[in-house]
Symmetry: C2
Subunit: 443 residues, 2 copies
């Protein structure tokens, strides 16, 4: 039997067993004009699938790029398949977005595919990645330095993108095209070992294949094992997450007691926190035994050692000098931080930390709302004398994010209310003749 | 500063921080005479550690092997260090043990090291494995096909073996020797790319280093990440093990309900059962939904689908045709399968499945003990008529291992007792004139 027949049969069986939903779907195939994508088109045609073609002209190789485009148009004509093309100024995009040319092409390509499939109701986008691509990516990541997730191959986050050739080797794909006399466009840059991927394809993998002629099959197995291990790591972390992590208004809290009880704590911290951009994992591990208040920063987040928890919060972007004013006569004041209601009442009824009662004549307008600063003092209601706000916070065992998120309602330079925590005694109702003002705060 | 000074300092610091216990211990260094082990000896000397040298002459390269031995003896003389040498007939050992020459050398080497250190009280054995060895092993396993554990580097099971050079590269080690004019023996087979490891060393790794000059440092990081992931997988499996697996007299039981509740069941089954030599993981996964009684085999074990459990047992090595004879007058019969006690009694007192009372005159000697076979029938005590043993087992919901381990006590061709389960009515006491024989079984 000819290889091309074997291959068309294998492709048909693969679609039937692994992607049965493709045979009745409306598909868009990404076609560069190169060997892989042209073969994918022919295999899909042989399997009588319903598809259109999308070709990106990235305008990176002048006339060569335009010739690729014409080639793909002709391929569409020959097979009686609709072709969509789009021209991109890839270099300009890369400069604007400050990304590499490769990243720019990738972004442009997938954005356009998504637009196309949304506008024209394509169910799936097919790309021609094959087994060698996965091995090449594995080796690139290995050479650069990576972790398990860098060795497990493409894990599509976008479920609309399907890679039906991922089990076929470059060699099989090329033999198919040669046997069937299918022409394709050779990208001249593919032959240059100056590009990392080409160097690996042309110099490293051939030696590995000399050693093991079944390299690709073995590698597919290896990668599937690695994928399973990664799945188990993720399952385990998912399990631990629900035990270790809780969330409150200020951010995430990681339970130190549990972290110290489990094995391999540092590796677990890495898995839990990796997406927040931290890099100093020894320092993070060290926080468990550090003094409360110690912190480790990433570009966007910080991890704070509190008494029984590590607190993960965004680095406060707002400077601590935002001040809101409240004028005399304001009765409902809606602010980004919550709502204050001022009402004259005749008796003190409801009690709680979310409202206070003050003697109206003691206030000096405008009132202000601000964050605390070092040196702030007030006269806590129910106590004799004054107290530093910082000591008050300490006695109440507030965490740093709680302190940072605490507002002070002030009457001129005097603190009237540590909002949601304690009123100031200097403004309290002391005489039946006082006009009673009730101030309520709600988020 | 000279590289050799930097390196001796780095080595000293490494010993201080990672292997502090080595500085006061009695050490044995494995020395082939090659670059790596000779450098290790010099570094240990420079760090003023207390050590002796052990050299294996595997007699695989004729005069070259003997010259290696003399070289190591001279090295010991020069440094005033005791040298132990041993000659091995490696080829003969390999033939006898049916292993490769490499495996034979490995076995001989470590066996002798262990003997030496037991006899002469060495605390640790030092070997000269370095960073490149780990990368080479990684690539060998990758090329052959592997899983996460094949990519995580040497994990020493023997805590007495220490590899203090594992963070140094071959290049550093060679530069150190050249700068200090330290001679070493070049193994001529190291230059031949016909050996897999040499091919990787000489052809694959240099290209990877062209791409990334920091390859080894990056790789050490990569491997430490992979190790952490493997640790997490093992922690997770340890956690699941205690939930899923229980043990009884017949083997291990895996709880199907829990297996079906967790994600990635197939990968978990692989991790739980890999050490038992199974290969058909799809079939094993399929057992969860299979009919009770279905089995999957490895060379040594089988996994049986029972009602609520997968049962893992060794494949019974004994053929099911073992028969024990019990003669008239035997009163205590000790067998590999347990002990039978025969005693005449005057009344029926104790009851239970572990003993029966029979009418002595109904027995025909010798009695026999055998396993059940298809077609066996008996007359269950307490029931009318006869029953197939297989149906009796089925009603009692015995698992296959329980059936296989069940013994039948027979009087000629009649079953007298399904041991530990049910007596036969035909031998029961029916008349006060019967002589009562009590038969007790205990393991």
């Amino acid at each position: 039997m000819y290889l091309w027949k074997t291959m068309e049969k294998a492709f048909k069986n693969l679609i039937k067993s692994e992607f049965p939903y493709l045979s009745t779907a409306k598909l868009l195939i990404a076609v560069s004009g190169g060997l892989d994508s042209v073969v994918l088109v022919h295999l899909c045609k042989s399997a009588k699938m319903e598809f259109s073609i999308a070709h990106c002209n990235f305008n990176l190789r002048g006339e060569e790029s335009d010739a690729d485009e014409s080639f793909v148009m002709d391929l569409g004509d020959a097979l009686d398949v609709e072709v969509f093309t789009e021209n991109f100024d890839t270099e300009a995009y890369a400069q604007d977005a400050k990304v590499s040319i490769q990243m720019a092409a990738r972004d442009l390509r997938y954005n356009w595919f998504n637009e196309l499939s949304a506008a024209l109701n394509f169910d799936y986008i097919l790309t021609a990645h094959h087994a060698n691509d996965n091995l090449e990516t594995f080796l690139i990541n290995l050479i650069r330095g990576t972790g398990l997730d860098g060795l497990t191959g493409i894990r599509t986050e976008n479920e609309k993108i399907i890679r039906p050739l991922i089990k076929f080797s470059r060699k099989e794909i090329e033999s198919y095209a040669r046997e069937k006399n299918i022409p394709w466009r050779e990208d001249s840059s593919n032959a240059s070992p100056k590009y990392l991927r080409n160097k690996i394809r042309l110099e490293v993998i051939p030696i590995m294949e000399e050693i093991n002629s079944q390299l690709l099959e073995g590698f597919a197995q290896t990668q599937s094992h690695l994928n399973e291990s990664l799945n188990l790591v993720e399952d385990y972390i998912g399990l631990l997450y629900s035990e270790i992590v809780s969330k409150d208004a200020h951010g995430y809290k990681l339970n130190i007691e549990i972290l110290e009880k489990i094995p391999n704590t540092k590796a677990v911290l890495y898995q839990l926190l990796r997406s927040f951009g931290f890099t100093e994992w020894d320092d993070i591990h060290g926080l468990l035994k550090a003094q409360p208040g110690k912190m480790v920063f990433s570009a966007t987040h910080r991890l704070i050692k509190d008494r029984n928890f590590l607190l993960l919060t965004e680095i406060p972007s707002e400077k601590n000098n935002k001040i809101y004013k409240i004028l005399e006569g304001d009765d409902i004041v809606m602010l980004p931080i919550g709502t204050f209601v001022f009402e004259e009442v005749t008796e003190i009824l409801e009690k709680g930390t979310h409202c206070i009662y003050v003697a109206q004549e003691t206030l000096k307008y405008p009132l202000t709302l601000r964050k605390w600063k070092e040196g702030d003092i007030f006269h806590p209601f129910g106590m004799k004398g004054k107290k530093k706000i910082s000591d008050f916070f300490k006695d109440k065992k507030l965490s740093l994010p709680e302190k940072e998120n605490c507002w002070l309602l002030c009457s001129q330079d005097k603190i009237l209310w540590v909002v949601n925590h304690r009123a100031d005694a200097r403004f309290a109702i002391k005489d039946p003749s006082n006009k009673i003002l009730k101030i309520t705060y709600s988020v």
